[in-house]
């Protein structure tokens, strides 16, 4: 993971691209959210790269099923919702990412996870799982369970 430079907090607020921003109801600074999630992963013994790769695999499996349900892991169903347009990374300088979201549902627990191309990039490159309360936050432990990593 590349160390992210200090970014303007404004980039993470609601904007022309993200109606509710990337922080949800989380009051913590971005650096603190990143550090907290990194500790969580560390304590669980899950390498960030492994989690990011599993997220990407599940996202692509759902995306390539063209709207049909895709079994991304045992008893986990991914469905893709298409959406027109692109989203820029709030850390700036990383380019733009296709919209559209893969919704993963764990049939054992009914837990769901929303994965986007930008969400994967934020984790892979910046270690940023987004703030609590954000629709697009990928909670590391919840994700690891739904992806059958733990």
């Amino acid at each position: 993971m590349k160390q992210s430079p200090k970014e303007s907090p404004k980039n993470f607020e609601a904007s022309k691209f993200s109606g509710d921003g990337f922080l949800g109801s989380d009051q913590r600074p971005v650096d603190e959210i990143i550090a907290h999630d990194a500790r969580t992963l560390d304590q669980a013994g899950i390498p960030l790269a492994q989690l990011a790769a599993a997220l990407e695999t599940a996202y692509l499996a759902s995306r390539d099923a063209l709207g049909a349900p895709a079994e991304t892991a045992p008893e986990v169903i991914g469905e893709f919702e298409e959406s027109r347009g692109r989203l820029p990374c709030p850390f700036r300088g990383c380019g733009v990412f296709e919209k559209g979201e893969a919704v993963l549902t764990d049939r054992r627990t009914n837990d769901t996870l929303i994965i986007t191309a930008l969400g994967i990039h934020l984790i892979k490159k910046h270690g940023f799982f987004q703030g609590s309360g954000s629709r697009y936050r990928i909670d590391p432990l919840k994700a690891a369970k739904i992806l059958r990593i733990i």
Partner: protein, 371 residues
Amino acid sequence: MDATMLQSLLVSIAFLASLGLVLAALLVLAEKKILNYGPCDIDINAGEKKLTVQGGSSLLSSLAENDLFIPSACGGRGSCAYCKVKVLEGGGVIGPVEEPYLSPAERKDHVRLSCQVKVRTPIKIEVPRELFSVKRFKGVLERKRSLTHDILELRIRLSAPPAIDFIAGQYVQLESAEYRGRESVMRAYSISSLPSEKTHIELVIRKVPDGICTTWIFELLKEGQRVEFSGPYGEFHLSDTQAPIIFIAGGSGMAPIYGMLRHMRETGNTRTAVYYFGARQQNDLFYLDELRTLEKELPSFSFTPVLSKEPDDSGWNGERGLVTQMVQKYVPDTSKHEAYLCGSPGMIDASVKVLADNGMPTENIFYDKFS
């Protein structure tokens, strides 16, 4: 560290920070007021159009002030990367804001983000010709009707200018109003109405979860309300050949294909055409009656909806599976066809692969990708 030292340190930091701010403000002021770049010429498409603008502004805004609208979703902040144009001479060096949005091939091809290029000297640029006819329009929402649980159709009557010229397959950028603390945004939607009906446009729009523009459209926009948009944009339209056509679409990708089919009927186009429309379940299908009518009225057209998640016991007698499977099943040789695709990047990528595998030259595959 004693209190005096700490105080001195804080004063020094405050002084340096203030000095930095003052210098930055002076630079901005100098850029705007003191530096006078004077009139600068913009040569577009090797002399096809020439503009003289006051130097100092961005290329995007200089063009917009002269009614040449380059698509943009971020309003010139250098974050959406929609406003790409070729700058052949006079654009200066690529800045750090632009750099991540330009591929090596684009850089080699002189592509720039027009919002980040400052017009300070005479400049030569290249833009798609269709942008010459792009205008800003004001209109009134005449009708808003649901087509499915998450797709609706808007019918807009134009007021200023009162008419639009477009080609079936093109799109507009609709501007949302500010609401609930959310900024006004521009989003692209394909036109589904007939080009001959110049005083109105119809759009087919799918609800995006938490989408800024679609939340406004679905929840707040009312019939009779004023709307603004710019357009037409895009190079997605039927060719002039007689090659048989394969249309493939999903969701709101229906819009441009439906517009093309209606245009074919109106202009007496006799090309053979098949249309595979992908959806999850029966309740995701729309325009069925209209498309069945088109099957009767066009000399050689068939429409096949394909459902990927329809329950086995629903009584659905139509096709099940993916649109790509329909191509494999019914058009094993696509070498003489042309294809027109509209939908998600996943659907387009998969369709392009199947069509090419079945023999279609890639130059015969045209698409409007939702990206």
